[in-house]
């Protein structure tokens, strides 16, 4: 009855506050679209320079959509590479081809290598001693390419859901306190756990729609790689929202105003993003990896990646599901306790 009243009130507030509703629904789509345009744009056309004996590759590379420039000697090719005019320079070291990659752009690196491999493949029949065509790869700048791009999509879905729900739920719970309505709620026979549960239900209804919309948009419209079950994606998105919702309302107890709530972004959200698997964790110090293990986003991203990229099912994500449920319940419990600060009974 009372929980229903709170749930209903939150829904009404949402309906009246269209801008917040838009932030919750449209903003993630906008940002995801931007990410997809920036990182997942059409196949990059690599610019490859050839010099000396490597000129035999020219036509084969052009057939692979590469933009090929010939240089009279290796030195002028190197200069062009350093100036950024080309992404890679192909030369012959004795019998074997050698390629130097500019290296700072992982997307370009990959397309260059791909084009070169395809070109080598197509040239193979004509060339004597096939294996010789396998080029030696070296980098001008940067290092080995990482697989970040492939991992981006699923993690970004998790990140944006978490971010927006955290902020909106946190600020609206905070405003109960700053406007005095929390005190008024606590002057009614409402129990503390009923307030927390009411919030979870009210926001929960919105997060269901949000999860549905974001998952559908990412997969169907943006075409983010998806090999697993849509239902599982939805489940994980929803659970991640729940943990963001409960964490946001909990942390709002420690913020005096909206600005202080925003200050939690660098403290709570950004570290979670860095430790979520967006960047390889293996190279991090062990203590930092351990911190990642106590953040909801780590489990959400891991499961979303398992579902969307690796096409895995329930047995692989069950652990993550229970972790997220556990986080949400823990945050709710802590919030009920945090409300003791305002009313002990």
């Amino acid at each position: 009855m009372r929980i229903r009243a709170i749930t209903l009130r939150i829904l009404q507030q949402f309906i009246h506050d269209r801008r917040t509703m838009a932030l919750m629904f449209i903003a993630p789509l906008l940002v995801l679209s931007l990410m997809s345009l920036v990182f997942g744009s059409d196949a990059y056309e690599p610019r490859i320079g050839v010099s000396g004996g490597a000129a035999v590759f020219s036509s084969a590379l052009e057939a692979e959509q590469a933009e090929v420039t010939s240089y009279a000697d290796e030195a002028s090719g190197q200069a062009a590479l350093k100036a950024g005019a080309i992404d890679a320079l192909l030369t012959m070291k004795g019998d074997a081809p050698a390629i130097v990659l500019e290296g700072s752009n992982p997307a370009a690196n990959r397309t260059v290598i791909m084009a070169l491999q395809e070109a080598a493949q197509s040239l193979r029949p004509q060339a004597p001693g096939g294996g010789q065509l396998q080029p030696q790869i070296s980098y001008l700048y940067g290092a080995e390419d990482m697989k970040t791009i492939d991992r981006f999509g699923p993690i970004m879905i998790g990140v944006f859901v978490f971010f927006f729900v955290f902020l909106i739920a946190g600020v609206s719970f905070l405003r109960e306190r700053t406007t005095g309505t929390l005190e008024r709620l606590l002057s009614t026979p409402l129990k503390r756990w009923e307030i927390v549960t009411g919030y979870v239900c009210g926001f929960g209804i919105f997060t269901v729609f949000q999860a549905l919309l974001i998952s559908w948009f990412s997969i169907q419209v943006l075409g983010i790689m998806m090999t697993g079950s849509f239902g599982y994606v939805l489940l994980m998105t929803l659970l991640l929202s729940m943990s963001a919702l409960t964490l946001g309302t909990l942390l709002s107890a420690f913020a005096a105003n909206e600005l202080q709530m925003i200050q939690f972004i660098p403290l709570v959200i950004v570290p979670q993003i860095f430790l979520s698997g967006l960047f390889p964790l293996d190279t991090l110090p062990l203590w930092l990896q351990r911190i990642g293990l106590v953040t909801p986003m780590y489990y959400g991203s891991e499961a979303l990646m398992d579902i969307m990229v690796r096409g895995r099912g329930w047995s692989d994500i069950a652990g993550d599901v229970f972790m997220l449920i556990g986080f949400s319940l823990l945050f709710m419990l802590l919030n009920v306790l945090a409300l003791r600060k305002h009313r002990r009974m």
């Binding site: 009855m1 009372r2 229903r4 009243a5 709170i6 209903l8 009130r9 009404q12 507030q13 009246h16 506050d17 406007t179 005095g180 309505t181 005190e183 008024r184 709620l185 606590l186 002057s187 009614t188 026979p189 409402l190 129990k191 305002h342 009313r343 002990r344 009974m345």
Partner: protein, 243 residues
Amino acid sequence: MDEGKPVIAVTHVNRAFGDKTVLKDITLQVNQAETFGILGPSGSGKTTLVKLLTGIDEVTSGEVTVLGVRMPKLAMLQQIGYMAQSDALYTELSAKENLEFFAALYGLKGGNRTRRIGDVMELVNLQEHLRKRVDQYSGGMKRRLSLAIALLHEPPLLLLDEPTVGIDPVLRQSIWKELKALNRKGTTIVLTTHVMDEAEKCDRLAMIRDGVLLAADTPAGLLQATGTASIEEAFLCYGGVRR
């Protein structure tokens, strides 16, 4: 000294936040169906005292009982109508949605809820603004809506923290009339104020300064005891130069 048992009994109450003592050894009683005023400058501990009466806050030492029950007690909140110093309204909702929300929290249902919402809005003279969003309300209108919400569940005890701030004299007059009418129906009212002329309208008055209860009596009794002509002078007499 009084007939019947008191609605509120505050006995040797201290309230400290950290090492700052906000209320010092307060003892007072409020009788049924009277309007009891708590008069004092801001920062004197009025709001803290009212919060102790609601049970939102707890005493450091001493005892508060309301209707014979030792506070804080969750079930007693159903018997109390509390109006905080801040308006505490959901400004993005309409007045009706605010009222319905709080009515539901107090367990008012169906026809009874609709009837009570109509009644209280008429009482504070806001009936034609029922469907308006609260962020379009003026300060005084918000104060009245806040009062209306406190009256919703017909509590036998009303605790009003600065109820008439920002309300114009004409409306203040009519609200006082309604409060007196509630007294006649048996409702006990405790209110805080720092307006002296308003204090005179209370049946009995407690004067507080720096967390200390200076005096508690009828306005006439206070004037007589201090030999002064106005409540303001009486307050100064108790608080300032002691004779």
